[in-house]
């Protein structure tokens, strides 16, 4: 046997033997996920754009010299230095209105995402953990909620609750949590067979402890991914509701309402329609890309080469 000795890669110099004990480069799960996410170009660009939109929508109104409720003497002006997004027929500054509308739409969307994620995650985890009859009953309820036509129900309920943004959010959340519950249930179904869950049981852990300390934290990946998708769904559903006139009511405004109000003016004053429309598309798209990035980052198949 002839041996070709090969200069070994002496990249990181002398490491004390103690440290070599760790054969895997020290890195937590969170760090791994972050690294993969940072490398996802579309997701990173989307995240930057999304953060800018959020900052603009929430801080912008304090800096801008028109309020969304303030009439100006300029009616139906096209975009100009004074009114970057123009004005509408009543003389409202469209820039201020789009800021306010984006803010409302985002608040609605985020409340939808948080509410339905929380309810759905707990619902799904409990069903998946107990299986059997509990699972069957809970999942039939989920299925029922899923079969309800989202828009129709939302229309009926929100027409009775008035146009405040949090009611709209709660109504939509009440109809979308079932998606999350299905995803979390299937994750928990496979997790509960893992030995660490059995280990917890052998230690005498209560069911609540197993669900909240072991099962849910380990389902965070799919939960995060779904939450981002729900933000996008939330934005679009709110838009649709407001467009149909059952969402946010004037004088408050939202992106959907702005588009709806401008529908008669598409030809005459196109800026009133296309600018809020562009914001709706931008927010939904960026969030979808962020969700994609998160999904890739959490995907266990994306393991590093193991040897």
């Amino acid at each position: 046997m002839t041996e070709t000795t090969e200069a070994t890669g002496a990249m990181d110099g002398e490491r004390p033997p103690e440290e070599r004990e760790f054969t895997v480069v020290e890195r937590t799960q969170a760090q791994l996920v972050l690294r993969r996410f940072l490398r996802h170009r579309a997701a990173m660009i989307s995240l930057v754009i999304f953060v800018l939109i959020v900052l603009w929508a929430f801080i912008g109104p304090h800096l801008w010299h028109y309020s969304y409720q303030k009439y100006t003497p300029d009616n139906s002006q096209p975009p100009s230095a004074k009114h970057p997004f123009g004005t509408n027929s009543a003389g409202y500054d469209s820039y201020a209105q789009v800021m306010r509308g984006t803010q409302t739409s985002l608040k609605v969307a985020i409340l939808i995402a948080l509410g339905s994620t929380f309810v759905g995650a707990v619902w799904g985890a409990v069903a998946g953990f107990y299986r059997g009859v509990v699972d069957a009953v809970m999942m039939r309820i989920s299925d029922l909620v899923l079969t309800l036509p989202l828009l129709a129900i939302a229309l009926v309920i929100s027409s009775r609750t008035g146009g405040s943004w949090y009611w709209i959010a709660l109504v939509i959340a009440g109809l979308t949590w079932a998606y999350v519950s299905r995803v979390v249930r299937s994750t928990v179904l496979s997790l509960r067979e893992k030995e660490f869950v059995e280990a917890a049981r052998a230690l005498g852990a209560s069911d609540a402890r197993i669900i909240f300390r072991h099962l849910l934290p380990n389902s965070l990946g799919p939960i995060f991914v779904n939450a981002t998708i729900l933000v996008a769904t939330g934005i679009l559903t709110e838009t649709a509701l407001s467009f149909l006139g059952f969402g946010v009511q004037p004088p408050d405004t939202s992106l959907g309402l702005l588009v709806s109000q401008a529908q008669t003016a598409v030809d005459t004053r196109p800026w009133l329609f296309y600018i809020p429309g562009a914001f709706i598309i931008a927010i939904a798209l960026t969030i979808n890309f962020i969700g994609d990035g998160l999904r890739d980052a959490f995907d266990p198949r994306q393991q590093r080469v193991r040897q």
């Binding site: 000795t5 002398e14 033997p17 054969t23 480069v25 209560s206 909240f212 590093r304 080469v305 040897q307």
Partner: protein, 409 residues
């Protein structure tokens, strides 16, 4: 039944390739790109296989033993960087096109994997798969003759009722049966080399014995040379003539099985033998090797075994020892101090470490103190339960700060 001397030569490996050389691996290196840099899985492996010889490649997980085999067969993913040379009957295999390679895979070199389902097609009967191999090798054979031969082969590898079993699909067979079918397919091609990568790892011991026997039969009938890759030193001891021990992507010791098992000259080999619980001896205590194998990513200079080696000296951290001849018969070792190991027992080199004595003593002490309280504790069982309950209530509120321990004692 006794496993007698099989008659294949216990001769040392010749220094230069001869007519009998069927497979020659020279300076084989494999690296995989990963997120953190290049993982150098194989760092220069060389061996030569004579006709009918049996070579065992032993190593723990991550030693590069399977990657070596896959590289020889050209079965690595395209991202892998393979350099060096692999010659089958004198002709180079590295860099050959896939079609040419699969020709050789079909007839010259057969491979047996740990999971037989990787080589069996689930939608064809096992008989059809053997027949396919036969017809590929002898295009003139009649269908009928091929079928008869397939049944015969199944019988040879020890499958009961081979005529009926030939019509079974792989999923209808047990793991041991499937592995035997894979061996039968390998035999059908009448290969010059059989590479078996952990062929029995997934099987129970009694089935492992059956499969190893089938492998021996296959070798005797075809006269093929065998490369047996395994983590089990016991399997190698009985089924090959020569052994190469791999560690961190290199061969660190090689020689005949006798040389290696009775006079190891590399501390790692000695350590492996000393850490094996043995059925034929009453050892009081095993001698583990401290630590774990190094990462093959950015491997530091020096001997890769040095951090775990009780004989380590400064030199070991600087120079990686080459695999050099340590005594007459072609016994090679990659240790600077191979000579010092003459006549050494594992117990004299490695420490029989177990639990940390100091904390063990402390725990044992506090245990005997606690036992005097035990009777009291048993009566306050309900109290303990109450604490546990209130604690899980804390959990429900999402409290994770870990400071809510109620000192019940």
């Amino acid at each position: 039944m006794t496993v007698g001397d099989k008659g294949y030569a216990q001769r040392p490996e010749p220094a230069t390739p001869t007519e009998d050389t069927v497979l020659e691996v020279d300076g084989l290196q494999v690296a995989f790109p990963s997120e953190d840099g290049l993982v150098r899985a194989v760092r220069g492996v060389s061996y030569r296989l004579e006709r009918g010889a049996g070579l065992g490649i032993v190593g723990e997980s991550g030693s590069g033993k399977s990657v070596t085999a896959l590289a020889v067969m050209g079965l690595l993913p395209a991202a892998a960087k393979v350099t060096g040379s692999v010659r089958y009957r004198g002709s180079e295999l590295l860099g050959l096109s896939d079609t040419r390679l699969s020709d050789i895979r079909g007839s010259g070199i057969a491979m047996i994997f740990q999971d037989p389902m990787t080589s069996l097609n689930p939608v064809h009967t096992v008989g059809a798969q053997i027949i396919e191999g036969l017809l590929r090798h002898n295009p003139d054979m009649s269908k009928r003759a091929a079928r008869d031969r397939a049944v015969e082969l199944l019988g040879t590898v020890g499958i009961p009722h081979p005529d009926r079993r030939a019509d079974s699909y792989p999923h209808e067979l047990s793991g041991g049966m499937r592995q035997r079918v894979v061996i039968a397919i390998a035999m059908a091609n009448d290969p010059a080399v059989i590479i078996a990568d952990e062929p029995t790892t997934a099987l129970d011991v009694t089935v492992q014995a059956q499969v190893l026997e089938a492998l021996e039969t296959a070798r005797e009938e075809t006269g093929a040379a065998l490369v047996l890759i395994t983590h089990d030193l016991g399997v190698v001891a009985g089924h090959t003539d020569r052994v190469a021990v791999m560690y961190a992507g290199r061969v660190v010791e090689s020689g005949t099985v006798e040389e290696l098992f009775y006079e190891p000259r590399m501390p790692y080999t000695l350590g492996l033998l000393g850490s094996m619980p043995r059925m034929d001896r009453d050892d009081d205590r095993l001698t583990p090797i401290a630590g774990s194998p190094p990462s093959l990513l950015n491997l530091p200079p020096g001997c890769p075994f040095a951090p775990r080696c009780p004989m380590r000296e400064d030199r070991c951290d600087r120079d990686e020892p080459s695999l050099h001849v340590v005594d007459a018969g072609g016994h090679r070792s990659a240790c600077h101090f191979a000579d010092r190991l003459v006549g050494m027992e594992a117990g004299a080199v490695f420490e029989a470490t177990g639990a940390d004595n100091e904390s063990l003593a402390r725990l044992a002490r506090s245990d005997s103190e606690a036992s005097s309280e035990a009777s009291f504790e048993a009566s306050s069982e309900t109290a303990a339960e109450a604490t546990a309950e209130s604690e899980s209530a804390n959990d429900m509120n999402g409290s994770t700060d870990g400071t809510y321990g109620k000192g019940s004692r």
